[in-house]
Amino acid sequence: MNAPANLKYTKSDEWFDPATGAMGISDYAQSQLSDIVFVEILVDEGDTIEAGKPIASVESVKASAEIYASAGGKVAAVNKGLSDKPETLNSDPYGEGWMVKVEGGAPGDVMDSGAYEKYCEERSH
């Protein structure tokens, strides 16, 4: 379980990068979902999104999950390549697996990596 220190995390296992405005799902989330076979980003460039609202939908071989915005703001970019390579979410959730970038991102209810690691650990017991 890996949670880079420069990112912020939500209780629903999304990350937010305050430096770039990027967001996606955490390493913990991808490992819980197992092999991801489908991803659909539900927002478009230019949309204004609100923290906590759905931005994407993913399906793995055993589950389906809604992904929520870890920060609000105006969508500056959407990772269009993800739908062709959904497995990227498993292999590189913090890098190539980014989903949406926002401008002037206002993080929602987030915690730092230390608190998030502890939160994940509690749930795995």
């Binding site: 076979v37 489908f38 939908s57 399906e59 793995s60 589950a63 389906s64």
Partner: protein, 451 residues
């Protein structure tokens, strides 16, 4: 596995839990005089007497196997069904309508469904098929759901050709209630002589789906390639409702660019019964598979590396995806779908084409003969498959009553759906109609015309 719904002990435990002494206490809220009304039933019959009574009632029915010559189609068709189809359907191993979740004990059924999907994909010219819907009408409505989900509800318009089966259009209207969608083109008063390409004018950037039928409800065959291109130019998807028998003879909807192909599988070895049950097929392109409703069987390998079959991509289904799923229907018609797969396997590519050719040739002979009757005529001049609209110049009900006296089940009364086609009937001809049958029809209709 023994399954006893309720034992006396269990019943007593349940009664105690809800706090009543006996079953009768449960019904106390119902006024006494309504509790056990006298039903005035005759004394019970023995099995032998009941069988005689029911056989007598059944004999009052007339059927197309032994009593009537049928020229009725309009969505259900009288085709020859090889006896093997029924023999396989009645095998206990297959005798369920449901798709099996446990591949460990269901390889036979799963393989049969996989074969069904492969046959349907080949027949329609598409990438992927689900494991069926209830019937052609519900499969068509599910295409509307797919398109709605594909555009995430942002495109609010569906264009439906008025020459799609009237009952299919009615089912679409039922499905879209509350979805805030607009249906365009779904107007029986439209000029039915207008060409399908005219539908392109109704398609705009707000259109999610165009629904067209092939051959259309009047049996007419068009190449929809240009229309489909026009729809795609606006970003809309296209669903083609197809007759599966016709697909053995004509260009596939897949090769014309369709995104979804649906239809009723009844012509493929399923009796007309009393109008059902039937099976709806649904095929699409690979990139829409996650928005497709229904079960899907895939081929894989087991832990010993042997070929095996298993339900696949289930995370898109309603029991996992819940309210975010494309549809809340995943029920299928496993047994009837199996029947179509058996039929197609028996006939093969050439056999099915032969059936389609017989239908085509016989229908054209019938149309040519009927159009020569004084006062009657073909309604349309376009190429057609095995159905055509005939103007009979008097109420269709009257004509059909006369035909029935001669043991002929006449055509479908088009006036009930299309005001402009009052006094027109839709006549279907299949391989089951001999030349003699057709000549009798022509003779009796000539009498009607002169009488």
């Amino acid at each position: 596995m023994t399954y006893i719904p309720i034992s006396p002990n269990e019943r007593d435990a349940m009664l105690e839990t809800v706090g009543v002494k006996s079953l009768d206490d449960l019904f106390e809220a119902v006024p006494a005089k309504h509790r056990f009304p006298r039903l005035n039933l005759p004394p019970a019959l023995t099995e032998m007497e009941a069988m005689q009574e029911l056989s007598g009632l059944a004999q009052a029915n007339e059927n197309v196997q032994s009593d009537l010559i049928s020229f009725l189609g309009a969505g259900m068709y009288n085709h020859y069904i090889p006896s093997v189809v029924d023999h396989i359907l009645r095998r206990g191993e297959f005798y369920t309508a449901y798709t099996p979740y446990q591949p460990e004990i269901s390889q036979g059924t799963l393989q049969a469904i996989f074969e069904y999907q492969s046959l349907m994909a080949a027949l329609t010219g598409m990438d992927v098929s689900n494991a069926s819907h209830y019937d052609g009408a519900t499969a068509t409505a599910e295409a509307v759901n797919l398109a709605y989900a594909q555009f995430r509800g942002k495109r609010k318009k569906v264009v439906v050709s008025p020459t799609v089966h009237p009952q299919y259009r009615a089912v679409i209207r039922t499905y879209v209630q509350g979805m805030e969608l607009t249906l365009a083109g779904d107007d029986p008063n439209t000029n039915l002589d207008s060409q399908p390409d005219d539908l392109a004018n109704l398609i705009d950037e707000d259109t999610s789906l165009l629904v067209i039928q092939y051959p259309d409800f009047f049996g007419r065959v068009y190449d929809y390639t240009k229309l489909i291109e026009a729809a795609h130019a606006k970003g809309a998807l296209v669903c083609v409702v197809a007759n599966p028998t016709a697909l053995a003879l004509f260009k596939t909807p897949g090769s014309m660019g369709a995104d979804v192909v649906v239809g009723d599988g009844q012509p493929l070895g399923i009796p007309m019964w009393y109008g059902g049950p039937s099976v709806g097929f649904f095929t699409t392109r690979k990139n829409f598979v996650h928005k497709m409703a229904g079960r899907l069987v895939g081929e894989t390998v087991d832990n010993r590396g042997q070929r095996a079959y298993v339900l696949t991509l289930t995370a898109r289904e309603q029991h996992i995806k819940r309210e975010r799923a494309t549809s809340n229907i995943c029920t299928n018609q496993g047994l009837i779908a199996l029947g179509t797969a058996v039929y197609l396997s028996l006939l093969g590519k050439k056999g099915l084409r032969q059936v389609a050719e017989l239908c085509y040739q016989k229908a054209h002979y019938a149309a040519q003969q009927l159009s020569q009757i004084d006062g009657m005529g073909l309604c349309f001049s376009e190429p057609f498959f095995h159905e055509f609209a005939l103007c009979v110049n008097r109420p269709v009900a009257e004509v059909n009553a006369h035909l029935l006296e001669h043991g002929i089940l006449g055509g479908y009364d088009l006036g009930q759906d299309y005001p402009a086609l009052k006094d027109h009937m839709l006549i279907a001809v299949t391989e089951m109609n001999s030349k003699e049958d057709i000549d009798v029809l022509v003779e009796v209709l000539s009498e009607v015309s002169h009488g």
